[in-house]
């Protein structure tokens, strides 16, 4: 098959968990990477080495271990900056996850006074295909500021309905926040086009890159400024890194204009009892001891992806997704939600099967060692848009093989027969 990662079998050996067998002696077929990805040995080893040899608090300890820990943590920041092509390393802020990164922006915007202040008559624009973590923070912001929340609807084939763009993006629009790649429909959204439109009316643009960062090459510095978002959020654990660490990248001027998020140690310049002054970015937004070893692990993860080459990872994902879409099309009564062209989508494929509920699909697949997700995937509005309550979602990644897709398709045939559904 064209497009697969070169030496896929060697790459798979980097991921110890992929050799596991599950109940009944079934080898693991892990198709839940949009939920969380598996971790290569180098990430595990880097984190263990850090804890075994270099552990200390960062930026405050005046000893050798403190210096080593600080260097490792700040080295991870450099790695993130280079992975997304950040114009400046200081624009990279570590958070706990993508949700915290998005909440950081939404909260500080709600508190902002002056040019970034949001109030009644202003509008915040999102889309109907967002993960709950890119809906709820904006609902909260709207409730707190009196702004109006609006959203792009979706077309029947799983794209943003851009026909309403002139009505939705106006001089009242203060923030436009949308996902780069949908975690449910898989759709890849036109970041450059939407960002340009939003910038024309002076709105800030926030992009949820939780599904994009693991799959697509990102080079912020290479984007023309008018097409470059103002904020970009992603989480480490979907990009072969550990849980507990996320990233918010923000344009320097925007970050500097926002008030602090959490108050505490490390985010200050000086503290007197009456009031404090704050550190510059990125530390202004990193109160308290951060997830140090998690950041170090994320640095190793992104370095690993860099060695594979994100162009290669993307090509692999596209080839496997195309193969999966072909395979799924052979299963009677199966309907995929979202675009059917692998060039327009990421590797998460949500589908329904007539007569079998997604939980039951996932349960039967699990009994054969195949891990998928069933439910609403934290995207209830997108499910409601297509009149479905829940779906089964299979999501591949750089280590997924065509044979695993075959196992999925066979498992779905078996599921149908288990629930007494006859062939087409």
């Amino acid at each position: 098959m064209d497009g697969l990662l070169p030496e896929l079998e060697v790459v798979r050996k980097d991921f110890p968990i992929l050799t596991r067998t599950l109940a009944g002696g079934h080898p693991l077929v892990y198709l839940d990477s949009a939920n969380t990805s598996q971790k290569p040995q180098v990430v595990v080893d880097t984190m263990v080495d850090h804890l075994e040899r270099h552990n200390a608090n960062i930026a405050r300890a005046m000893h050798q271990l403190g210096a080593e820990a600080t260097e490792a943590f700040e080295g991870a920041r450099d790695e993130v900056a280079s992975f997304i092509g950040a114009p400046s390393r200081d624009e990279v802020i570590f958070t706990r996850n993508a949700s915290e990164a998005l909440n950081l922006v939404a909260n500080t915007l709600a508190w902002a006074r002056g040019p970034l202040e949001i109030g009644e008559g202003d509008e915040v624009l999102i889309t109907e295909m967002e993960h709950h973590s890119n809906i709820v923070p904006w609902q909260l912001l709207s409730e707190r500021t009196g702004a109006t929340l609006r959203w792009f609807g979706l077309t029947d084939d799983g794209h943003l309905d851009l026909s309403a763009v002139d009505d939705l993006v106006t001089e009242r629009t203060k923030v436009v926040s949308f996902t780069w790649v949908s975690n449910m429909l898989g759709t890849i959204n036109p970041v450059a086009e939407l960002t340009r439109r939003a910038h024309e009316v002076g709105a800030l643009v926030v992009v949820d890159a939780s599904q994009a960062a693991p799959q697509l090459p990102i080079d912020l510095a290479a984007m023309p400024e008018e097409e470059r978002p103002d904020f970009l959020a992603f989480t480490g654990h979907k990009a072969v890194g550990p849980t507990g660490i996320g990233v918010l990248w923000g344009r320097r001027a925007a970050l500097e204009a926002l008030p602090p998020f959490l108050g505490g140690g490390e985010m200050i310049e000086t503290v007197r009892m009456e009031r404090s002054t704050y550190a510059g970015i990125p530390h202004k937004f990193e109160a308290g001891t951060p997830p140090i070893v998690e950041a170090v692990g994320l640095g190793a993860a992104l370095e690993y992806l860099g060695h594979l080459g994100m162009e290669n990872v993307h090509r692999h994902e596209r080839a496997i997704t195309g193969y999966a879409l072909e395979g799924l099309a052979t299963v009677p009564g199966l309907r995929v939600l979202g675009p059917l062209d692998p060039a327009q989508r990421g590797g998460a494929i949500a589908f329904e099967i007539d007569g079998v509920h997604p939980h039951d699909v996932a349960q039967v697949l699990d009994s054969r060692g195949i891990a998928v997700r069933a439910g609403h995937h934290c995207a209830k509005p997108a499910h409601a848009r297509y009149g479905v309550q829940s779906t089964t979602r299979a999501s591949s990644y750089l280590y997924t093989t065509p044979a695993e897709i075959d196992a999925l398709v066979d498992g779905l045939e078996y599921t149908r027969s288990y629930f007494g559904l006859k062939g087409s």
Binding site: G24, H357, Q363, S367, H376, Q389
Partner: protein, 148 residues
């Protein structure tokens, strides 16, 4: 993992032909319960007369386990005196929360014993309990309303 211990024939039968489905009048309380992790939903009404569970009616979307357990709930509770129904409820709850260690009493739970296998699948226990929790809630609200 033994699929057949989860998907007992009785469960699949109830799933395909659920008993008592639909929302009916009269009723004293209506509740809407959701399983937030998966999105399964049930709207459930109770009708009580003089300490008897006269009717339970519902509209639900969800997996085979949640739909079948609702159907079994109707079979087991409708027509019973409230205190007997609550005892059955307690017995079903104990079975589901027993991690597969509780031996079900067929005289009390009838078709409900088919859910013994579900208790061994922690992720599915909530599915089986969705409508049972909804019934308990609706009943409590109905009794509250009587007092008021």
């Amino acid at each position: 993992m033994d699929l057949d211990s989860l998907y007992q024939e009785i469960i699949l039968d109830h799933y395909k032909n659920p008993h008592g489905k639909g929302l009916r009048e009269p009723y004293e309380a209506e509740v809407h319960h959701v399983n937030p992790t998966c999105g399964d939903e049930v709207t459930l009404r109770v009708h009580l007369t003089e300490g008897v569970v006269e009717d339970i009616s519902y509209d639900a979307v969800g997996c085979s386990i949640s739909q079948a357990s609702t159907s079994v709930l109707i079979d087991l509770l409708v027509g019973k005196r409230l205190e007997d129904a609550l005892a059955v409820h307690e017995s079903f709850l104990a079975l589901m929360q027993g991690r597969g260690t509780v031996q079900p009493d067929e005289d009390v739970l009838e078709d409900g014993i088919a859910f013994a296998g579900v208790a061994k699948f922690p992720a599915r226990v909530k599915c089986a309990l969705l409508s049972w929790m909804a019934w308990k809630d609706a009943t409590a609200q109905a009794l509250e309303g009587e007092k008021a």
